[in-house]
């Protein structure tokens, strides 16, 4: 059932949250604080560098959430089964139109559970500071219903797939998942988030994920978007890395109307390592914004960012990444690399890597290339008997392979290898 609105703001923003759901009292308090904060906020404008090239409908925060729906039909069941078969997952959580569907899910409750009805109060510790939230984070705090809570205990390992399925709706709708991933000392987690839709419907997915990676813990997080061309998908990841933590985040976009993924990584302990990867293969009028903020609060940490895009027709990517090295964060190593292949004169690419360095003994670098396929490489392949089309596709595959090879999780790597093999057929 859709929420009917008579005002410019959705009813749950005004009144609090969905009272039909049995949320604990502490969350109600949090939401009330968020609502107060929300009313002080305005939508980001072109003057905000982080949002400079993001064109979104001004009514986006007003798109209503779906209530009491649990929509899943044969199409959804079949799509989920296909995805499960593809990823060979043994542990997965399925959400349809933002709502957790236990009938379609399978997981080990000791390590992970849907963040729907039984939200533990310990979750409060992981909440991002409300007063620092932007308008989209704020509306997520106000509206989130379901999400994923994963807490991997010390020395334990977990592997999980999260599947977000969106089914067509007659109206524009929104979902606001809130995920929390917490890895205790020396824990390891492989988590893959798949966002798919069953039709060309308009919706706004506004996800916020809070991630704590403890001492010596290791996180492999992959996000795959293969959604409706009318979809708007904003995702924000707040990641903190303790000493010796290892974090690998891979963001793959195959299809989506407008996507904006913002990844904040805070290095809080020395000798932590993070890798932020992105691969966008866009062939229609699709726009992907990848925003990163890497904060070297302490020294002796290492971060590598590699974001590549293949753009055809009127697609567009925008890479905006800031590396901040704090005073005293010596021996930091942090690099940004953004490369884009333009297959069309109508495609657009914006690349804005930035370094803010307040320490003097660091190695930081950034690089960006935007160009077409290298004619010399293409001629080399053709001189061996490959056709123009074969040569081009092989070069595109090679261009992407650099990112895929960096992905440690074999299932994620296999998913994108297969995706590209399917798309780049000869």
């Amino acid at each position: 059932m859709m929420i009917t609105m008579n005002t410019n703001l959705p009813s749950d923003v005004i009144s609090g949250y969905d009272h039909n759901r049995q949320f604990p009292a502490w969350l109600g308090k949090v939401r009330q604080e968020a609502i107060q904060h929300f009313h002080k906020l305005t939508l980001p404008t072109k003057k905000d560098e982080k949002w400079k090239y993001v064109d979104f409908p001004s009514t986006l925060v007003e798109w209503p959430v779906v209530e009491d729906q649990a929509v899943f039909n044969e199409t959804v069941i079949s799509l989920v089964a296909e995805k499960i078969g593809e990823i060979q997952s043994e542990s997965y959580l399925v959400f349809v139109n933002g709502e957790y569907v236990p009938q379609l899910s399978r997981f080990s409750p000791e390590n992970s559970r849907p963040l729907s009805l039984e939200i533990p109060e310990t979750f409060l510790d992981m909440l991002h500071s409300i007063e620092n939230e932007d308008i989209f984070e704020s509306i997520n705090t106000i509206r989130f219903t379901d999400g994923v809570l994963v807490n991997v205990d010390q020395e334990q390992t977990a592997d999980l797939d999260v599947i977000w399925v969106t089914v067509p709706s007659a109206k524009e709708i929104s979902f606001h998942p809130r995920n929390c991933f917490k890895l205790d000392k020396n824990a390891a987690l492989n988590i893959r988030i798949h966002s798919i839709s069953t039709g060309e419907n308009s919706y706004f997915m506004n996800a916020v994920s809070l991630v704590e990676v403890g001492n010596g813990a290791k996180l492999n997080l992959s996000f795959f978007a293969n959604e409706s061309d009318a979809a708007i998908h904003f995702s924000k990841f707040f990641i903190t890395c303790a000493e010796n933590a290892v974090v690998k985040v891979a963001n793959f976009n195959a299809a989506v109307g407008l996507s904006r993924t913002e990844i904040d990584v805070d290095f809080l302990g020395p000798n932590a390592v993070a890798e932020i990867l992105g691969l966008n293969y866009l062939v229609r009028s699709q726009t992907v914004h990848q925003v990163a903020s890497v904060n070297h609060v302490v020294g002796e940490c290492h971060c590598e960012q590699v974001v590549k895009s293949i753009l055809d027709n009127e697609s567009c990517t925008d890479y905006y990444s800031t590396v901040n090295v704090a005073v005293g964060a010596q021996l930091t190593v942090s690099n940004q690399l953004n490369q884009t292949l333009m297959l069309s004169d109508n495609a657009e690419s914006y690349s804005r890597p930035q370094l803010n360095i307040d320490a003097d003994d660091v190695k930081c670098g950034h690089g960006a290339t935007v160009g077409q396929l290298e004619p010399g490489e293409l001629f080399y392949l053709k001189s061996r008997g490959l056709s123009e089309a074969q040569g081009q596709l092989l070069l595109l595959k090679g261009f992407s392979q650099d990112v895929i090879n960096r992905v440690e999780d074999p299932i994620s790597r296999s998913l994108w290898t297969q995706f590209l093999a399917d798309r780049l057929k000869f």
Partner: protein
């Protein structure tokens, strides 16, 4: 097999080839020598179909077919192979996958069955041994991170896999130490047959100690100014090119 007649070519309106004629028969090895800028590499690129060069006159035929009307891939499929002077690095493109695609493209062109990955692996392993390359090279990106010698060996590996009718080796000896030169030359010698022919482009006589040419041609100012047998290469080594080269427009 390959006939070049009165070939003229230019790049950006700079005339580089000024009427080259050459006939290469099956089983023959022709060495083309000459000073820098004489047009040796241009000749190789024009034959292989590099679109940077414009052919303004003349013809090149392979087994009677005019290859100048063909795109580069059709020339390759028809049996032309160029071992590049500077092999291109292609990050991310797997050497074995690339070679299998090229091999299968040729098989398909010839109406022969294509090789699946397992079948091709067996073919590739035998060719790797020919050029004394580690099997690891098959899994690396094409020429990416290869040393100069490894790149040249990789060119000969491709030649071995594709089994061309005419192989043009453009300064394959440049940048090779004596051991690498021997390996490359032995690989080429093993690929020689009465059914194919080789055009060796080189500055130095030393390569010809390993690969015996049937003919040696001197290219200067875009023309073949002298042809002879292997003894011509020895004479060039002793006397240089000045005695054969007249100044341009001079």
């Amino acid at each position: 097999m390959l006939t070049i007649h009165n070939l003229h070519a230019q790049i950006d309106e700079n005339k580089i080839l000024n009427g080259i004629s050459l006939t290469v028969k099956p089983g023959e090895v022709h060495a083309i020598m000459g000073p820098n800028g004489s047009g040796k590499s241009t000749l190789a690129k024009v034959i292989s179909g590099d679109s940077h060069y414009e052919v303004t006159d003349g013809e090149v035929t392979l087994e009677g077919k005019n290859i100048l009307d063909m795109d580069p891939e059709t020339r390759a499929l028809s049996g032309i192979f160029l071992a590049f002077q500077y092999p291109v690095e292609i990050p991310g493109v797997n050497n074995a996958e690339f070679l299998r695609m090229a091999y299968n493209a040729k098989q398909k062109f010839q109406g022969k069955p294509e090789a699946d990955p397992m079948q091709f692996d067996a073919i590739l392993q035998s060719k790797l041994e020919l050029v004394e390359m580690s099997p690891d090279f098959a899994d690396r990106a094409v020429n990416f991170g290869f040393s100069g010698g490894e790149k040249k060996r990789n060119e000969i590996l491709q030649m071995a896999v594709l089994n061309p009718k005419i192989a043009i080796l453009d300064e394959t000896d440049s940048g090779l130490d004596i051991d690498a030169l021997r390996i490359v030359a032995e690989g080429v010698n093993q690929l020689r047959s009465p059914d194919n022919a080789i055009i060796l482009i080189t500055h130095y006589q030393r390569l010809l100690n390993f690969i015996q040419p049937d003919f040696v041609h001197v290219l200067a100012n875009g023309q073949i100014v002298k042809s002879g047998d292997k003894s011509l290469a020895l004479e060039l080594e002793a006397r240089g090119y000045d005695w054969l080269v007249s100044p341009v427009n001079g």
